[in-house]
């Protein structure tokens, strides 16, 4: 499990940090080299733990001073107890998970709240590439159709509908393009979606 494009990550880091309370416990699924957790440590003084499957990224986490558990997200989060974290983050990884619904459920079991970011397939540049007859390739989705790890791409509206149907309460959301919030027609003009959610039962 790995995070898509590196250069773009910073934009969603700031959006995520804005929602995270000072000194909280954060689990980052598909944490890559641990940059997000490091960022949150610096900005929000969090206690963090990452989950990553890739050897090189696990090593990078240790070099970054970030605690990491090497495991396959597809196995679920069996190593983690209910509500053992304040937030569970899935940053630019959900589109590459085989069972996206299960991972969202697991996030809300292990964490009190979840934060997910994903490339918006409905972004106009993606639509344009499809209209021209090609699978979209962009900063957020830097893969060709034949080598992409992305199996569950969705649009902002798809995700909203998904949450509504499963009684997942969206607490906050942002849609970004080149790091800037998009308010007008987010499903068309937004490249990257950032959602903060909790379970309906918590209402």
């Amino acid at each position: 499990m790995s995070r898509n494009g590196n250069g773009i990550s910073r934009a969603d880091f700031a959006a995520i940090a804005a929602w995270i309370k000072q000194g909280s416990r954060v689990l980052d699924l598909g944490c890559g080299d641990g940059s997000l957790l490091r960022y949150l440590k610096e900005k929000r003084d969090i206690t963090g733990c990452g989950v990553e499957i890739d050897d090189a990224k696990v090593l990078a986490c240790v070099k970054n001073g970030i605690s990491v558990i090497q495991t396959d997200l597809e196995r679920g989060l069996a190593d983690f107890t209910d509500h053992s974290f304040d937030y569970v983050v899935l940053s630019q990884t959900i589109q590459a998970v085989k069972n996206s619904e299960r991972i969202i459920r697991e996030m809300l079991r292990v964490g009190r709240e979840g934060i997910v970011t994903f490339p918006n397939f409905g972004y106009w540049k993606n639509r344009l590439q499809v209209l021209r007859g090609h699978m979209p390739v962009s900063d957020n989705m830097p893969y060709e159709w034949f080598d992409t790890p992305n199996v569950h791409l969705c649009t902002v509206e798809d995700f909203e509908r998904f949450c509504a149907q499963r009684r997942i309460r969206v607490l906050e959301s942002k849609v970004l393009t080149r790091g800037r919030a998009v308010h007008l027609w987010p499903n068309l003009l937004g490249a990257l979606a950032v959602y903060h959610f909790g379970s309906a039962a918590a209402q």
């Binding site: 090593l59 986490c61 070099k63 090497q70």
Partner: protein, 382 residues
């Protein structure tokens, strides 16, 4: 162990001996009046005594962790590939201690030692010891060396059990625990293999109830078989297949009970080598140490509760082909630590060598340990 010394060796080393006269009450209830521990150190203890790392040994190893002896240059420390200047555990930065555990046969008080009460070797009368007893004895050595808190306690296999026990028994006395190729307790299968090894020794006619020294005998046949059985469990099926397969010793089948296959020859060689230097009473006791290790036992089997006192940060490492202490067993430890909200990093190294992988020079494994010690060094400097 590959037995080579790289340029980055700690060089010539000399074992030291510490005498302890304060009695030690063992977990079994038996009291050991006094004892010696033999140990080695590499590197320099800093002024705050903050950079000490205790390296705990596994089944057949000793205090001789790194470097070599002037009078026995082929005797290279058992973890020399891990420990030395510029190595993952860098002796330019850390003060490293290796200690031969109680009941051992490399100089610390054990079955070969003369029992002051009888004037004869302890032999079969040497008490049964446990991981917890070893850790208690190690803690006294730490006191003696002026080390209040270790930067890390580290070990593989049975050595890792000691590191884990340290975090429970003396939680405030270590910053980090490196728990490699470990298990929170032996499985029935693990105990079964140990029992076969013990029976091989005990039923050897030269065993004499453990008092073979007085009889001028050594139960070598039993030790050989015990080591052969043990060795099978250290290697993976794939590793054995690729190393030996069904290769013939003499190029053709002889339809006899002599060694036909290379694997037989290899096991016999390992068994013979071992029987020459290792003490049977020590071997028996160390297999018992393994069997009895189960920190969750006193907590109704709840490992999370057992590890609740731990304060250290952990690096837990397992190896994919280790079927003796499989990755699932390490995950039990990781889960219990996470349940206790401990700082834990877990890595599963994809290595073909089975349980023995923790002793081998695998680049991914060593890079990870190096990076973790770098983190420890940075914490100490902060």
């Amino acid at each position: 162990m590959d037995g080579t010394v790289s340029e980055r060796s700690v060089g010539l080393v000399t074992p030291q001996r510490a005498r302890f006269d304060e009695p030690l009450r063992l977990k079994s209830g038996v009291v050991l009046d006094g004892y010696d521990l033999v140990y080695e150190t590499y590197g320099t203890l800093d002024a705050q005594a903050s950079n000490a790392v205790l390296v705990c040994h596994a089944l057949n190893a000793s205090h001789h962790v790194a470097g070599r002896y002037a009078d026995d240059p082929d005797n290279v420390g058992w973890w020399d590939n891990m420990i030395g200047p510029g190595k993952p555990l860098d002796t330019n930065r850390f003060f490293v201690i290796g200690v031969n555990n109680l009941g051992g046969c490399h100089g610390s008080t054990g079955p070969r030692t003369i029992n002051a009460k009888t004037g004869k070797p302890w032999g079969g009368d040497f008490p049964i010891v446990t991981v917890e007893d070893w850790v208690a004895a190690q803690a006294r050595l730490a006191d003696r060396l002026g080390i209040e808190r270790f930067a890390a306690v580290m070990g593989g296999s049975l050595g890792a059990m000691q590191a884990l026990a340290w975090t429970i028994q003396y939680p405030e006395r270590l910053r980090h625990a490196l728990v490699i190729a470990c298990t929170p307790k032996l499985s029935a299968q693990n105990i079964a293999f140990n029992e076969v090894a013990r029976q091989a020794i005990i039923t050897d006619p030269d065993f004499h109830e453990g008092h073979y020294q007085e009889h001028g005998a050594t139960p070598k046949r039993g030790l050989r078989v015990a080591r052969m059985v043990g060795h099978i469990t250290y290697l993976s099926d794939d590793e054995m297949a690729s190393k030996f397969g069904r290769q013939l010793k003499h190029g053709k089948l002889n339809y006899s009970f002599d060694t036909e296959f290379e694997i037989e020859s290899y096991l016999r060689h390992q068994g013979n080598k071992f029987a020459e230097y290792f003490d049977a009473n020590t071997y028996l006791r160390i297999t018992k140490v393994l069997d009895y290790f189960d920190p969750a036992f006193d907590h109704g089997g709840n490992l999370t509760q057992a590890l609740a006192p731990a304060q250290a940060a952990f690096l837990v490492i397992s190896f994919t082909t280790d079927w003796r202490f499989s990755p699932e067993r390490s995950r039990e430890i990781v889960k219990a630590l996470l349940d206790n909200r401990r700082d834990v990093t877990y890595a599963e190294i994809d290595a073909p060598h089975g349980h023995d992988a923790f002793l081998l020079d695998d680049a991914r494994y060593h890079r990870l340990v190096a990076a973790y010690f770098e983190r420890i060094a940075q914490e100490l400097a902060a």
